[in-house]
Symmetry: C2
Subunit: 322 residues, 2 copies
């Protein structure tokens, strides 16, 4: 199964989002237009728009009013990606050159800001200040998460708590907000909106843990980037945290993972030790734990086929191997 299958109930609306992404970055500056279009064309799973649309579809049939929100959520995500590529000095993303690689750091910083401002203007048009407040608070926390990740690089003493805080901010919060805002624009009750916010949060946690597993084990063609790219950058993810504690070779792991040079020269060796120690199995267990928590929130939502679809989505996300 593909994630697209779960998005089938909102497939038409996702096509509209796709075409609106480009028209919403129309700028008189050709270079800005090119950079943004390049980023849109590089594609992505459009998870955040899909969740906003799916959440709304549980309560209403007409999703036209949700489209600008869905576009804004993807733009916000894209803005963080452009800045991330500068911060991480990334040359490729999803198998194609990054904006940073093609146009340089200076343009990328501005392009990220520009895309975020556009996203904001789209949300402002709803005239719903509660939505802006949620988006502003989420952005603040996402920035903090980035910094926690920066500060924790090559630090083999970071534990589970630090890791969970990082992935919450990196991924879970924006997926949570996508579900929450999608539901907020419908006649859903505040209890239902809260259930969607939590569903998105736990699902986002499951998603990022699984992403971190894939970074250790998936083949580069599937990932669109080299296997072990987290390790190469000194980012200590859940499988590594487990192995640092339980591997018989944990002393070697501590030494290698704290050294920027060894992280690059010994990536494959480190990956093997992590896998042998059971780090991947443990991370799978954690991903499933969050998927279950996500599914449990669905009991507070109307019992419909689309709600069951969201449950299957949670299972899929914590098991996916693409």
């Amino acid at each position: 199964m593909e994630p697209g299958d779960f998005f089938a109930p909102v497939a038409d609306e996702l096509k509209t989002v796709e075409s609106n992404l480009e028209t919403n970055i129309n700028s008189s500056l050709a270079v800005l237009q090119e950079a943004s279009t390049h980023l849109i064309r590089a594609g992505g799973k459009r998870l955040r728009p899909a969740f906003a649309l799916l959440a709304a579809r549980v309560f209403v049939d007409d999703l036209k009013p949700i489209i600008p929100l869905a576009v804004a959520l993807e733009l916000t995500h894209m803005a963080t990606l452009v800045h991330d590529d500068v911060i991480d000095d990334s040359k490729t993303r999803r198998g194609t050159d990054t904006v940073k690689q093609l146009w340089g750091n200076r343009l990328s910083i501005n392009a990220g800001n520009f895309i975020f401002a556009r996203s904001l203007a789209l949300v402002a048009a709803y005239q719903r200040c509660d939505m802006i407040k949620i988006l502003a608070d989420t952005s603040t926390k996402i920035c903090e998460g980035e910094i926690i990740q920066l500060l924790g690089a090559y630090n083999t003493r970071v534990g589970l708590k630090n890791y969970l805080r990082r992935i919450e901010r990196k991924t879970a919060l924006l997926i949570s907000v996508s579900c929450q805002l999608g539901a907020l624009l419908t006649p859903a009750s505040s209890r239902e909106v809260a259930a969607f916010q939590k569903y998105g949060y736990y699902l986002g946690m499951a998603f990022q843990v699984t992403d971190d597993i894939l970074d250790c084990v998936a083949c580069p063609e599937v990932l669109g980037k080299p296997t072990g790219s987290d390790i190469r950058q000194g980012i200590i993810t859940l499988p590594a945290i487990y192995a640092l504690r339980f591997s018989p070779y944990r002393q070697d792991l501590h030494q290698w993972l704290s050294s920027p040079e060894q992280c690059i020269s010994r990536t494959d060796e480190i990956l093997d030790l992590i896998i042998d120690a059971g780090g991947i199995d443990y991370a799978h267990y954690v991903a499933q734990y969050y998927a279950e928590k996500a599914k449990r929130q669905l009991q507070f939502l109307p019992s419909k086929p689309i709600t069951q679809n969201l449950g299957k989505m949670a299972d899929f996300i914590s098991h996916r191997d693409y």
Copy 2:
């Protein structure tokens, strides 16, 4: 006279803004707190808060409700400065080390985003979506301005129109919005709000032209950065545009200003040619032209001492030599 003298009618409120700047960047992350605090302590003229407060004071006595806006405007300005320092690779600003210099590019990009998100949350709390819309559109244009400046570097063919568009986005728009939003939060009529928006715009243009003059002629101690820093970075400002057209040595100027190496090795020579060609006098003339336009908007505002103060402010800004 000092700009502070013109701000006297709102001096107490500016002190409150100053203390609120720090409390509004409270983060659990020590490094973020340090970086932001460093930036606040490095000071600045707090022009944008002052204009928002002065505009409001024309219509109301109690400025408490304007304080969060004033803080948000300065935070927005500071966020752009932090990103600018990364983009321009600046080591000092206002005579002290930049955030970028002390904490590096990666933290600076995130710190800028964090500060902007905080600013947004402050404005969102007003529950006035029209304000958010104005801020989002302004941010979009400011980003475009940055890019126009990047693209035009070392391009000696850029003309007056390109320059005016650049400084509009770099400076005039945010000062204009400061005046506009300050008035918008009072019972001012829409005509009066519009007059303030234009006053701020023209005053901002006068301010930036004067800043560009000072970058050519003021001593480094006063500027807090080396004289000729624009030229060193290949930024072609108004005095240079004039000299490129009318200097008897314009061929040399074209050659030198299009070369990143010559811009650095011949900065003083270039400055001398610009001054001898009358570039500074011409720019002074343009600054005064905008100051006059700003003053003309004041006729649409209540005739009060504080309104006359705003007129004197425009004169001062276009003549200042600090």
